[in-house]
């Protein structure tokens, strides 16, 4: 990829459009019915997950499947702490816990590349799931936790909105920073980046931990919707796969790509699920294959290609 993506500055029109969009999202709880609100919630959740995933994995080309692990850790922080902490505090702590976990395992596994890294990060979800099961059984005599007195739907929605917006803002800020350039440099050629004086080890651990924060916070925020929390439900590998898929389909080297893809993908999945109950996976699979075949750069290549074309002409 070219470096031009990193130097783009949003125009005034873009900023105005963004502000309007955020405002529209913020008033949603008072406009939409319960179902549409939770559909919007799902879009926001995947937006936050995909954008924060792309921030690290898209830039560095380290394909992480650990999203499910981070998400689950966050959810479990809520399960354990919700009664004593307040909701915003558990969301924040959920993010911190996931971040700390990512930093610790990052030290151990971030020297691996390619398939080794992907498989190992996938294993993290299983590892944490079994660890929590073991500890819970040993010390609390049960594995599932019941949450009562959960916050209102609007509160959950606005919290997830804030986390998702923070993920986007941080991602944009990172991309135009030295840190972001270092991440991209690692993605382009790690050896070269190292030779040029980038502390690749530290940068990778920092990026991994930062992106984990958002997955953890989103897990913590969403968990209150499920009443009953147990390891198989919250360490759902599907969430991790879906996140990677969305980011890839959108264009993992951009911010807008995963953002657009999370909305398109969530709405499309829901539409197909509701309208074609027995065929939706087949249709979805076919669409994905077509997309990968004809749009290998992701949805984002639709506008980056156009822009590049304009510049050339």
């Amino acid at each position: 990829m070219t470096m031009s993506g990193f130097r783009e500055r949003p125009s005034r029109v873009t900023i105005a459009a963004l502000a309007t969009g955020v405002l529209a999202l913020a008033v949603a709880p008072w406009v939409l019915n319960e179902f549409l609100l939770s559909l919007a919630l799902t879009c926001l959740m995947y937006a936050g997950l995909a954008v924060s995933w792309a921030m690290f994995s898209g830039a560095t080309n380290y394909l992480s499947l650990a999203t499910a692990a981070f998400f689950g850790i966050g959810a479990y922080v809520t399960a354990l702490g919700y009664e004593s902490l307040t909701y915003p505090v558990s969301v924040f702590l959920g993010g911190l816990a996931a971040s700390a976990f990512a930093a610790i395992v990052g030290v151990a596994i971030l020297h691996l590349r390619g398939a080794y890294f992907a498989v190992l990060t996938f294993g993290l979800g299983e590892l944490v799931r079994h660890a929590i099961t073991f500890v819970e059984k040993k010390y609390s005599g049960t594995v599932g936790r019941v949450l009562t007195e959960t916050p209102e739907a609007a509160t959950v929605y606005l919290t997830v909105l804030v986390v998702a917006l923070a993920a986007v803002a941080v991602c944009v800020a990172v991309r135009s920073s030295r840190f972001g350039l270092a991440l991209a440099g690692i993605g382009a050629d790690e050896q070269r980046a190292q030779t040029l004086g980038v502390n690749t080890r530290l940068v990778k651990i920092g990026g991994f931990a930062l992106s984990a924060f958002f997955a953890g916070a989103l897990g913590a925020a969403m968990a209150v919707r499920w009443t009953y929390i147990d390891p198989p439900a919250v360490f759902n590998p599907f969430i991790g796969f879906q996140t990677v898929l969305i980011a890839m389909v959108g264009g993992a080297q951009t911010v807008a790509g995963p953002l657009v893809a999370s909305i398109v993908f969530s709405l499309l999945t829901e539409l197909l699920r509701l309208q074609f109950p027995y065929l939706f996976l087949i249709i979805l699979g076919t669409l994905l294959i077509l997309l990968v075949l004809y749009l290998p750069g992701g949805i984002a290549s639709l506008w980056t290609r156009k822009r590049a074309g304009k510049r050339d002409g």
């Binding site: 179902f35 559909l39 073991f134 594995v143 019941v146 919707r225």
Partner: protein, 393 residues
């Protein structure tokens, strides 16, 4: 009578007739649910639950519709795939209740999904009769709209302990899966056995998704217990059975919890299942009603219903049907009617107390020549138990 009066009478009669006609072709009763058609929950959901919904709606419609306080209305099922995902379960029931505004709902599959729906049914006032959710923790949430049809773990384990005591069993070894249901059953079994003064010689647990239990089973075998109990889930139930046969572990009682009641267990494991016991409630020999249900199910789907939760699912539909006949589709009235009355169902009389089915006793069933016979308690038995269990074939 003057002419004008006669005309008026005729007009009124016509109006009444038109009204009655309108009622006869009243809008259908819309009944919504989300259930797993894809993902890991689909196996259980598509054996024990959704086929019953479809068969019930078809039967009711074939008979002219659902009797709603004396008026026949067709049933229209609004069913969605929940993809075995809790968040999707929640979102779909929100859609059913607030967007589709269905008249009534049917439950999703499994304890976790039922937990997730509980706040919604309480908030929006939808009664829910759950055939595949069990656990005291669910009942402790005290939703007035929730009714659990399955026997609770302690009830089932009491029945097993009673059976073992009746056979003068001295020693039991057991394993359980580390999951809500496994743990709740394990502690219930321990309490029941203690009460019957039966010695527990070994107790081990294993994680969900285990792929090999042979070392544990070897250890159990070396202790030579009278009875072996595996409080397991379907994949592990198959695993435990196969591996016990492989090491020729042949205790006098061999009990495996969830999945033994599935016809696929018998079909896949073959002669090996002879004498294996497990969680069940009924079989076609239990009653003429059970036979009729079994035959209709086989005729429609070319596959047998399972001998535990399937009939509970059917019973839940029967209860809903009877409640709607008396209380209409006013959901609060339906709830109150279900909470206050006793119902005739395919598994016998059912009455609820605090949302718990307090009428269906704990049952022990055993595979004997291709049928999952009820062998305990005596008043529900369809056959005497095979004791000691014949060695694995």
């Amino acid at each position: 009578m003057s002419l004008s009066l006669r005309w008026k009478a005729l007009a009124v009669a016509l109006l009444v007739a038109a009204g009655a006609n309108a009622f006869a072709q009243d809008a259908p009763v819309r009944i919504g649910y989300a259930i797993a058609r894809t993902g890991p929950w689909a196996t259980g959901a598509q054996v024990s639950q959704e086929p019953n919904y479809i068969m019930w709606a078809d039967q009711v419609n074939a008979a002219g519709g659902l009797n709603v306080k004396g008026k026949k209305r067709k049933v229209e099922l609004v069913g969605y795939d929940d993809r075995s995902e809790t968040e999707t379960v929640v979102r779909t029931y929100e859609k059913l209740m607030t967007s589709d505004k269905v008249d009534l709902i049917l439950p999703p599959w499994g304890t976790g999904a039922n937990f997730a729906v509980l706040p919604l049914i309480t908030k929006h006032g939808y009664p829910m009769l759950a055939p595949t959710a069990t656990g005291r923790k669910l009942l402790q949430l005290k939703s007035p709209y929730f009714f659990a049809l399955l026997q609770q773990p302690d009830v089932m384990m009491d029945a097993l302990a009673e059976y073992l005591a009746a056979r003068s069993t001295k020693t039991v070894a057991f394993i359980h899966v580390d999951e809500l249901f496994g743990l709740e059953q394990a502690s219930a079994l321990e309490a029941s056995l203690k009460e019957k003064k039966i010695q527990i010689v070994a107790k081990k647990s294993y994680p969900m998704g285990v792929k090999d239990l042979q070392p544990v089973l070897n250890e159990m075998k070396s202790l030579n217990p009278d009875a072996f109990v595996s409080l397991s889930y379907p994949p592990d139930t198959f695993l435990v059975t196969g591996q016990s046969k492989a090491i020729a572990f042949n205790p006098k009682v061999f009990y495996a919890a969830v999945g033994t009641a599935f016809p696929v267990y018998r079909d896949k494991m073959g002669a090996m299942v002879e004498g294996v016991m497990g969680l069940g409630t009924w079989n076609p020999k239990s009653s003429p009603a059970a036979k009729a249900y079994f035959d209709a199910h086989v005729a429609k789907f070319k596959k047998e219903p399972d001998r535990w939760a399937s009939a509970h699912a059917w019973a839940g539909l029967q209860i809903l049907q009877q409640a709607v006949e008396k209380a209409g589709v006013d959901r609060k009235a339906v709830r109150d009617y279900i909470a206050a009355n006793e119902f005739d169902t395919v598994i016998g009389k059912i009455r609820f107390k605090g949302g718990e089915n307090i009428s269906t006793p704990g049952v022990v069933s055993q595979w004997q020549s291709g049928e999952f016979e009820v062998v305990w308690p005596p008043q529900r038995s369809t056959s005497a138990s095979l004791y000691p269990k014949p060695a694995f074939k």
